[in-house]
């Protein structure tokens, strides 16, 4: 699994990027808390006291991680865009369709888009899977558990 020295980078990019993101998040979190919520005293802590310190702690740890990442080599980062896009689009498509057309169409859309994450795309298999899962979802959740689902609806 581990790539050889040839592809190793001189800095641990993952730690540097991740650490810096944590610094940004932590500082934002702390400053937002200090700005909007009462700080209080150590004895009577306000709603801003704990979040402010949590934010600073995140930022501090992020800084240490980034610094340590600068002084040692690490593996490169590979982003696999195809599954990332397929899965997020599929779930987003479900979110967009479920209120408008109901659970069954939403599941069918989800399965078809998700199947694009892998090649080859098999039409018949995907269609059968989509219908089967939609039926199963209605049976298990709506009938089995009694959740008020609408299998179909028209509310574009």
């Amino acid at each position: 699994m581990r790539p050889g020295p040839a592809v190793m980078r001189r800095v641990d990019l993952a730690d540097v990027v991740g650490g810096l993101l944590l610094v940004a998040f932590g500082l934002w979190f702390a400053s937002y808390a200090l700005e909007h919520y009462a700080y209080g005293t150590a004895r009577r802590m306000g709603p801003g006291y704990f979040p402010a310190w949590v934010g600073f702690l995140v930022a501090g740890l992020g800084g240490v991680i980034a610094l340590l990442g600068l002084v040692r080599p690490g593996d490169p980062i590979f982003i696999r865009f195809r599954p990332l896009l397929a899965v997020t689009t599929a779930t987003a498509a479900f979110a967009l369709t479920v209120e408008r057309f109901g659970v069954v169409p939403a599941v069918v859309v989800l399965v078809f888009v998700a199947a694009l994450g892998e090649s080859p795309f098999r039409l018949v298999r995907t269609a059968l899977l989509a219908l089967g899962l939609a039926a199963l979802a209605v049976m298990l959740f709506a009938w089995g558990l009694g959740i008020p689902f609408q299998p179909f609806r028209w509310n574009p």
Binding site: F25, Y32, A33, P47, V58, L61, I65, V107, V111
Partner: protein
Amino acid sequence: MSDLLANLAMGFSVAFSLKSLFWCFVGVFLGTFIGVLPGIGPLATISMLLPVTFHLDATSAIIMLAGIYYGANYGGSTASILLNLPGTPSSAVTCLDGYPMAKQGRAGVALMATTLASFIGSSIGILLFTGFAPALAEVGLKFGPAEYFAMMLLGLVAASTVATGAPIKGVAMVVVGVALGLVGTDVQTGQQRFTFGLLPLADGIGLVSLAMGLFGIAEVINSVGRVARQESTYRSSVLPWTRDFWRAMDPGREDWRRIPGSSVRGSAVGSFFGALPGTGPTISAFLSYALEKKIARDPKRFGHGAIEGIASPEAANNAAAQTAFIPTLTLGIPGDVVMALMLGALIIQGIQPGPRLVVEHPQLFWGLAASFWIGNVMLVILNLPLIGIWVAILRIPYSILYPSILVFLVIGVYSVNNSVFDVVTCVLFGVIGYAMNLMRFEPAPLLLGFVLGPLMEEHLRRAMLLARGDPMVFLQRPISATFVAITAALLLLALWSSVKPKRAEGFSAPV
């Protein structure tokens, strides 16, 4: 003693009700199922089933979730033995000797040995659970807010530093989790924090959306196109009443004698480390393997199909899976992330895990203890005579599996409040989880921090109010001071191992 028996009798009457039996079976069946399948673990499954538990009573819910957890350990070894591919991280060691056994044509023997060892491990773990949990709860009743805060601190630091490859990144993830846990309405002042005027955030970020995003969706993104179809060479006759079926599982006299001793040793290791925060089934399995190798008369057999090498780790991870419930239920301190999910599920049900749980919800506590026994008996039946089913399941291609996982994830999230907002949050955390994965930040500590964060803030504020704002209170009270000292030691150790050149990949938490 008679109290214990009366309580157990009550527990069995709960666990033997038709409803409990049904949910226990669902739990252990699903546990074995996902344990066998590489690419989906107990964590993702328990996240997926959290929404279902909203429609059950608390006892059924926890019985089912627990069943998934310990059931996965049984199933995990099956994939390790037959495919050399651990179904769950806690069964990774079982590959070392289990797969060589399969190659020698002794797969049936290995399956028999791991199932037996698992049962022995579980039994010892359950005995300790029923014996020690009520006693520990008595101790916990004496704790004040300072002790609770210090203990949670220790739990979080231990879980994020001991079990991960990069301790400092683990600690950072815990704190990020604590930050996310603070979103929502502040209990003491009613102030809405970090909600940005979004109504659904007033109750905080949903545990279901967060867990399913980080573990479910991120894991699917990560596995699509990677998990190849595996073929097992094991051809068992699926009919358990034939003689050949059982003959293939007979270890022979030599190995029969080795199973009990190694199982008991493994159980001891597992029971101990399972109850400690931060060290769960996975570490227990590795440690017990190392122990067996050390005390063996002929250590060279290990790695070439030594039966102790599979019996001991399997006993250990099952014992650990049972004793992990001790601190979770009696102190409200989850030792690992799966336990954090259980804790979250109980809190959602309106039950606060802690020293009062045994007294206030005896039905739940003793019913769960009794269901452990029943579940483990079910597991032996599922994993020995019915092994053929699981071997067949190993042939399901991932291209069918992952859209199905996605459908259940998304519908599960949606069903909690019939809310599209929850689905969107979940996808967002899925992307964040994938990014964390790319940068090798582990999501498990984040979830632990998320569950414990709000409780920690509450105890901290209460402790400081009682101490009139003097932080020395955490060092003046002996129990709290001990926890703080251990925490500091762990942090120093973590810092040291972060500065020193990168060590080999650690054991990651079971996903």
